[in-house]
Symmetry: C2
Subunit: 311 residues, 2 copies
């Protein structure tokens, strides 16, 4: 049985993936791709950034595993075979890390850290108030694995949580909205907007001037999804006007964010370097091996991407 898993993950931590498979899934023949390698018999591929032209050369490919929660980068490659199942990374550690990030950043914006920073920078003790969490409305765009887990945790903290997604979703104690028609109602009371959407043709540029204008004045934006969701110039303008008061961004149209980008020096705009949450290789290796075993046993795969839908 050929159990080669070709790793096309330039930029990812190759060594930790090698070690992870050796440790938890030694039955998998994990091979980091080397230029010029004959890939015609490779059945399985774990992909982050694929080298140009590699897909047509994998003539016997049976499953493509994405390395992260989003597969927009893979789908953007028109040579990606559409008849081979593409599996999204759904991995508890990735979800847990994202929930940690969202909670941390929601508390950061809820407690208005910029007011504390301003007081400290001028050595002034200023009374500082913040609402009870039920008087703070947090809106989550995207109620998939990550968004629904984050919503659940925010509810536990007592926040008033609303969610928006493409199709109707029902989550305990979360006021849910769906589709373009209900987006304005969702936005109208959202004080802290968290974007955890998949990046698709429908969601590209969704965080734009028109959306910002529908939020309550002085809202906060947290984008932990993809840089392509945000129209960066629109955020700069909305922050300059005060419509958006503060933002935390983990993702950008161009990464690394170039040194000359105005975001670096925008007040109350906080940058994290696309590390909100990271796939854990050991946990992922165990899951990938399990999916390969299911596939070999003729069973169905989990978390297969609907290419038309885009996630």
């Amino acid at each position: 049985m050929n159990r080669t898993l070709l790793f096309v993950g330039a930029g990812a931590r190759t060594d930790s993936w090698i070690n992870a498979f050796a440790e938890v899934a030694p039955e998998i023949d994990f091979q980091p791709y080397e230029p010029g390698q004959d890939v015609s018999d490779v059945p399985y591929c774990l992909a982050w950034k694929a080298p140009p032209g590699i897909w047509p050369a994998m003539k016997n490919l049976k499953i493509i595993f994405g390395i992260g929660a989003g597969v927009d980068r893979l789908l953007a490659d028109s040579s990606l075979p559409r008849d081979v199942p593409l599996v999204r990374m759904v991995e508890p550690e990735l979800t847990r890390g994202m929930v940690e990030y969202v909670l941390w950043q929601c508390l950061f914006h809820h407690r208005k850290v910029w007011e504390l920073e301003a007081a400290q920078s001028c050595s002034t003790w200023r009374p500082h108030s913040y609402p009870a969490p039920w008087d703070r409305t947090i809106g989550i765009m995207g109620l998939g694995e990550l968004g629904s887990a984050a919503a659940e945790r925010l509810v536990e903290f007592g926040f008033t949580v609303r969610g928006w997604s493409r199709t109707p979703k029902s989550l305990p104690k979360v006021e849910s909205f769906f589709g373009a028609d209900q987006l304005p109602a969702f936005l109208s009371k959202t004080e802290i907007l968290v974007c955890l959407l998949p990046l698709t043709a429908d969601t590209r540029g969704i965080l734009n001037a028109a959306l910002f204008a529908q939020l309550p004045r002085r809202a906060s934006i947290i984008n932990a999804a993809r840089g392509g969701h945000l129209v960066e110039a629109d955020l700069s303008a909305a922050m300059a006007s005060g419509q958006i008061n503060a933002a935390t961004l983990d993702v950008f149209e161009t990464e690394p964010l170039p040194p000359e980008h105005p975001f670096w020096s925008t007040e109350r705009l906080y940058i994290t370097p696309h590390n909100a949450s990271i796939t854990d290789p050991r946990s992922a290796a165990w899951r990938i091996a399990k999916q390969i075993a299911k596939f070999e046993a003729g069973e169905g795969l989990d978390h297969v991407v609907d290419c038309a839908r885009g996630y």
Copy 2:
């Protein structure tokens, strides 16, 4: 039945207390103290900062309610009658707010915000890593109402949590230490130290150079208890040497913290103005009224301070 509750709460939000009692406990005759007022018949007192000499004048006092979780300030007044029950504030909102603060600050230190700030201040995209929460040990000093609630929530987030208290305590998934003998073992692996102790003769100045030296190098300190727990000059020295890498302080020996205090401009020292958590007047009024009703029915009071113990 005389149900006068005298409010000696200078500096607290008097109006919100008046409104709270009017709304949820109208049977209580809530009276903000006015200088010169005859207090000889007052049976109940809600106290924050008591005017000098007021205690001996309250000749018929039956219960003293503290307005916050700590009663050190009240006990410091030698004229406070030791034969009248002193009741600590145990109020779910106060606890919830403190848990929110501790989580926020632990995530802040866990994710090393100072590294993000440094990268942003020089417009540089720097890879930024942080451990899994189980590879991060948080130690909580004080396992009372606040400390045990915070420990429970940190455990839910996956952190490795240890606790230290005066007497043995047992909490699920928390490695517990107690007494002076076990303090070094508790400290030896604590990377983020959270102080939620009551301020007593035993705990005054407990956060000092000797304690800092027993922590792993580059530990973080979060003090949300009382300024008196911390020897401020020792923290400055420990941060200058790098033994303590970062700190968040909500409380200070002198509050408001004077403008000339070196803490304002200490790098990686974050200041919140004694507002980590705030007693909710409505919730507190309801609980105080309930305790008064129990007292009138001849039942025992909850959360009575042991004056010898100091909390």
